[in-house]
């Protein structure tokens, strides 16, 4: 039973790796194309049209953590804890954006309704905030590193990237093309 569960877990982890390779590379590709990250990440292969630079960058960062953890075992653990804390911050920010957009751009939600609206987003915020609060008790050592990474990213955006955002990027075009609110727009 133990080895059977371990085998199933290994297959699940392999599936997760494939998902992460696809998701992480496409995310950094989109941000590089829009100008939020260095532009070289937004380039694609000339013939295959795959985001090679973004794939290599995300893979190298992951591989570096794995290799360094051979000598410093805590590197892998810290990397996972930092990424989890940033994921919790992202959940709360995403729900905040949902509430703000509901008020500012109700037309965006003319044909899409958030399931179980208000209860589900509020539950997400409360659960994420509770989990993030646990970091101050259990994993407080990763908080300064996470804060430093956020500060570096915000500094990069404030002093460099925000003047170079590509207005023609699909994400920017979609944000500017929000339809007017129809009659009876959802709350």
């Amino acid at each position: 039973l133990f080895y059977g569960f371990g085998t199933i877990a290994v297959f699940g982890i392999i599936a997760s790796y494939h998902g992460m390779i696809f998701g992480a590379s496409r995310q950094s590709f989109a941000l590089g194309r829009a100008g939020y990250l260095p532009a070289f990440l937004g380039r694609v292969h000339a013939t295959r049209r795959t985001p090679v630079a973004a794939l290599l960058a995300s893979s190298l960062v992951t591989a570096a953590c794995v290799v360094v953890s051979v000598w410093y075992e805590e590197v892998g653990t810290v990397a996972v804890l930092v990424s989890t804390l940033t994921a919790l911050m992202w959940y709360m920010l995403a729900m905040g954006c949902l509430f703000v957009l509901r008020k500012r751009e109700p037309g965006l939600f003319a044909k899409y309704r958030t399931p179980v609206y208000r209860v589900l987003p509020v539950a997400v915020v409360v659960l994420a905030a509770f989990a993030a609060l646990m970091y101050t008790i259990i994993n407080v050592k990763v908080i300064p590193l996470t804060a430093l990474l956020y500060a570096l990213a915000l500094g990069y955006f404030w002093f460099w990237a925000h003047r170079r955002v590509q207005q023609a990027a699909p994400e920017e075009l979609s944000a500017r093309r929000a339809p007017p609110p129809p009659q009876g727009a959802p709350r």
């Binding site: 003319a110 309704r113 399931p115 179980v116 209860v119 589900l120 539950a123 409360v126 659960l127 509770f130 129809p182 009876g184 727009a185 959802p186 709350r187």
Partner: protein
């Protein structure tokens, strides 16, 4: 299945049950925090029962949210 009117829930019963489960999950979170802050206030419930109830509640909430989210991704427009 016809499109629900804008702003109205497409599956009101399922969403209502899901909302109740989510509220119970948040209340259970408060119970856990209360147990950590004032252990004497929650000791009257056996720990195994508390853990079992939390696991069942979280599993039910996860299942219902997944079901509602899946149903919302299905195209219900005719043609």
């Amino acid at each position: 299945m016809n499109e629900a009117p804008v702003g109205k829930p497409r599956y009101p019963l399922l969403e209502g049950v899901t909302a109740v489960l989510l509220i119970l999950v948040l209340l259970s979170l408060g119970w856990m925090a209360l147990g950590a802050w004032q252990p004497g206030w929650t000791d009257w419930v056996p720990q195994a029962a508390q853990v079992g109830a939390a696991v069942i509640l979280l599993a039910a909430a996860l299942g219902m949210v997944s079901l509602v989210a899946l149903l919302h991704t299905r195209d219900s427009s005719p043609g």
